[in-house]
């Protein structure tokens, strides 16, 4: 079974404990066909590729790019072969290893399936304790639950074009994770003038003060590179749950912990005292334009 396109980088997509969400998110990428042309896909969990899974788990092949989706469980067995053996075998030959999604990056949702042993492939939450510590320079974390299609699209394109990808301390590409999910939020003006959303299901108001939004504390580009090319959680009134950070999933995801009606956690890097002063002042303003409905379909007819 020799590849017809031996010069292309060989890509292998392997799964641990997962919901398949990253596999399906990737399929949403608008330039998927042209991107896949640049790789020789050895195995992908949702469609035919060059090899069957049984051939993959024999651990006789090698790959250039290893994508790993799901939480790493050291006791997991796939196709009668320990996952640890499969992962280490392909990680060794790979030039780049991509942790696709928050489970593979930090442990994520399915760390809770077996908290004492499950982890990401490099990190266990924020600690480098995963099975690939020795190969850490190869690992790129694309956290998010699920992975954003454009983020993996970007990363694979950079690899195909042989460009260097700069990473942050948690091994996430800076070009994708240097900003916060808050950047580009269409509710920004409400954030600026501290106008809370009066509840869910409204176009108006900021979700940071009461509805649990973590966008000002979360490294992500969801409001810059839109989901499915059209929207984001905050744009449609759902709070950001901070799914790209190592502590996802937190609890009480739909409410903000407050002290004297100011969020207990302030936007990333902003000194608490200064924030409280500024928020206090902004809250004394009464900006009529931001207090009412943007469009009242019932009366404007």
């Amino acid at each position: 079974m020799h590849s017809k396109h031996a010069t292309k980088p060989k890509l292998l997509w392997l799964q641990g404990v997962t919901c398949n969400g990253n596999t399906h998110s990737f399929l949403n990428l608008s330039y998927l066909p042209t991107l896949l042309e640049k790789f020789d896909v050895l195995y992908y969990p949702a469609m035919e590729a060059q090899y069957s899974f049984e051939e993959i788990v024999r651990c006789e092949l090698s790959c250039d790019v290893l994508v790993f989706e799901g939480t790493y469980d050291p006791l997991m067995v796939r196709g009668d072969v320990p996952l640890k053996k499969i992962l280490l075998h392909y990680a060794k030959s790979a030039k780049t290893i991509i942790a696709a999604g928050s489970c593979a990056s930090f442990g994520g949702m399915f760390k809770a399936s077996a908290p004492e042993r499950n982890s990401g492939i490099l990190f266990d939450l924020e600690e480098k304790k995963g099975p690939l510590v020795a190969l850490e320079e190869k690992v790129i974390n694309l956290s998010g639950c699920p992975i954003h299609p454009e983020w993996i699209g970007y990363t694979l394109s950079m690899i195909a074009h042989k460009k260097e990808i700069l990473l942050d301390d948690l091994h996430r590409p800076l070009e994708l994770y240097a900003t916060l999910a808050h950047h580009g939020c269409t509710r920004n003006e409400y954030f600026e003038w501290k106008v809370d959303a009066k509840g869910f299901g409204l176009k108006e108001g900021c979700l940071f003060y009461e509805q649990g939004c973590r966008a000002p504390m979360t490294h992500a580009s969801c409001n810059k590179i839109l989901w499915n090319e059209v929207s984001s959680k905050t744009r449609i009134g759902t709070p950001c749950f901070g799914c790209t950070e190592a502590d996802f999933p937190r609890q009480n995801l739909f409410s903000t912990k407050t002290n004297m009606s100011i969020p207990q956690e302030t936007p990333l890097g902003v000194p608490k005292r200064s924030y409280l002063t500024m928020a206090g002042i902004a809250k004394t303003f009464h900006i009529e334009r931001l207090e009412g409905k943007l469009i009242d379909y019932k009366t404007t007819r």
């Binding site: 399936s113 989901w227 409410s255």
Partner: protein, 432 residues
Amino acid sequence: MITKQLVEQIEGEASVYFDIKNEKVDFATVTFPHFRGMESILETKPALDALVITPRVCGICGHAHLMATVRALEDAYKNSGYEVQLTQKAKLIREFTLVMEMIQNHLKWLYLVIIPELNKLLHYDGQKSTLKGAYGASLASKAIALFGGQWPHSSYMIPGGITSDPTHIEVMQAHHHLQELKSFFEKESLGTTLETFLSFESCKDFHALDSDIATLEKHLIEADMHQKGFAHDRFLILGEHTFSERTKLKHTRSFGVDIKFVTTKPSFSPYEKSFAYNALYKNDYYETGPLARMMSSGLPIIKNMHRRFKDSAYSRVLARVFELSFMLQHATKLLDKIDVAEDSVVSLVDIKKVWATGIGVVEAPRGPLIHKVTIEDGIIKNYTIITPTQFNIGSDTKEKPTSVQHAMQRLTKEDALFVFRTFDVCSVCTTH
């Protein structure tokens, strides 16, 4: 002799253990080897967090899980004395995004699973068309994201309604993506209009087409799939929607149903540990999903197909194509009815006041999805999930075969594996 076959490129993986006698499957058992413990992850969590956790049961039908959760929470409100009256707008948008998820599921199943697997079975080296399924599905996902923010893993349904408050801009954009998807499906898949396709009265009508679907139909006949893969000819629909009503069918006769008769039991897996539970209705195995829903739809072509080929693999596969077509039309009707002036949410008392158990039932792509939640003081005390694949792909003894076990009997191993996939297996849901 027992032979083990690993089945992958379903949602997750499964093992099928075949007992082969005279080159035919005498009996087969199914094992789902992976487990994630979703139900115990949910216990002790704040009730609303379930809206974020349960979509992560499944990457392909997470939206159905979201809807089952929100319905279960609203049922708990009701059982606590606070009945939730959703606005028409919230109902329509929830229904629209659910239908779009079903469409993306069926498109992927068709192009990423069934067409390539059938080619493999017939040893055809046909042109690869897998990415057609991904493209069509991505259009459906866009339409969901306009209201739900993203797909997969949206959490935009909340007790009392939805978090989004769309303008006509989003509704028009959704119409546009849907229209593009319909045109794509008509041109690339059907080779005719949806109207013409849905007005088919006989399987012979396929002969007039020259398209992916016409080829699929021809290949199904070539592989004798109209004479293979019969389940028990019993069907179950439990989710109530604009496109379905609760019912069970024995052959073509319809009967009333009650959710309280659904039970589960550990699956029979003598050769390897399985984490799956079989789902039964009144202690019997039923087929769920597109064939069941289409059987109750009254579409003439489905009646004709069932009269000629019963619940064969042929009927099961083509019922999905018809459901896909039906849903594309239905989605447009739902969009047309949305009145953006209505409220998105009705206000409810704090969930901490809800001390009750609630059940949410939804028709997911593969059939009924049941979530049951008990909440006290805003915290989840207990959460149970029953998924459609537990109905279809159970594993029991030879004396009481499940739908898939019955369908695989007396076939060659290769045919049986194809028939297995006609049920659209979701392993990740099964062993949530």
